[in-house]
Amino acid sequence: MDFSNNFAMFPLDPTFTIIAYYLIPALLSIIGFYVSYKLYTNISSKPREMFIVAFSLTEDKTFTEMKIIAILFGMLFTSLSFTVIGMLTNNSSILSITMIMNMFFGIGMIYIITRWNKRISKVGKEWKQI
């Protein structure tokens, strides 16, 4: 079974294909792994009370983040629906659109997790000082 044929059905320039299907996903997955691992260590090393303080003092920011997450999942829903339609109808242009949408979802999630990381680290430092 040759999955590399999947790439052949996208009518794209080879250089663009390498960037779109290898370099960008590789970069995004490495950054995603790094920021989410940092979030994990940040959360697990700090007490729950500090966590409550970190998020309850920044309601407006958190509310905005929730909105962004809603938009991201709305986009992901559209993208996944397109993926199913594209796979069933074997339409390459629809599948190309889904790749771009998925990329935006990844960037959005990295952005949100980075914001959470920053907030927890900042409150963590203040918590230690107190």
């Binding site: 590789a26 729950r48 309601e59 992901l76």
Partner: protein
């Protein structure tokens, strides 16, 4: 024989994608409910909830798994290793289930 395997894998991937479509739709609806009537202050309930730390930890772990899934899919697609593609699909499913859990605990706290 190989065509059958391809068809089975495609069917499997499409069915997982369909499940995931519904899950992302439910997650989106939960978030839409959250800010439909400006429930900004109701979020405090979520912060005071004991599950908050666990929920965020789950999101962190799920995103790690998701990243591994993308990385695996990227290589296995080009190398033609079927099991890798199936593995990455499982990674995506884990991510969506975890996000669903996070959204549900948020939704539940706000609704109460």
């Amino acid at each position: 024989m190989e065509t059958n395997l391809v068809n089975i894998i495609r069917l499997y991937m499409t069915s997982i994608d369909i499940i995931v479509v519904f899950m992302s739709f439910i997650i989106m609806l939960m978030y839409l409910y959250l800010f439909s009537k400006n429930k900004k202050y109701a979020l405090i309930k979520f912060y005071l909830d004991e599950r908050i730390k666990k929920s965020f930890l789950i999101i962190a772990v799920a995103t790690i798994i998701y990243s591994i899934g993308i990385f695996t899919e990227m290589f296995t697609l080009s190398l033609g290793i079927e099991i890798g593609v199936l593995f990455s699909e499982f990674c995506y499913l884990t991510f969506y289930f975890s996000t669903l859990y996070f959204s549900y605990s948020l939704f539940k706290s706000v609704r109460e």
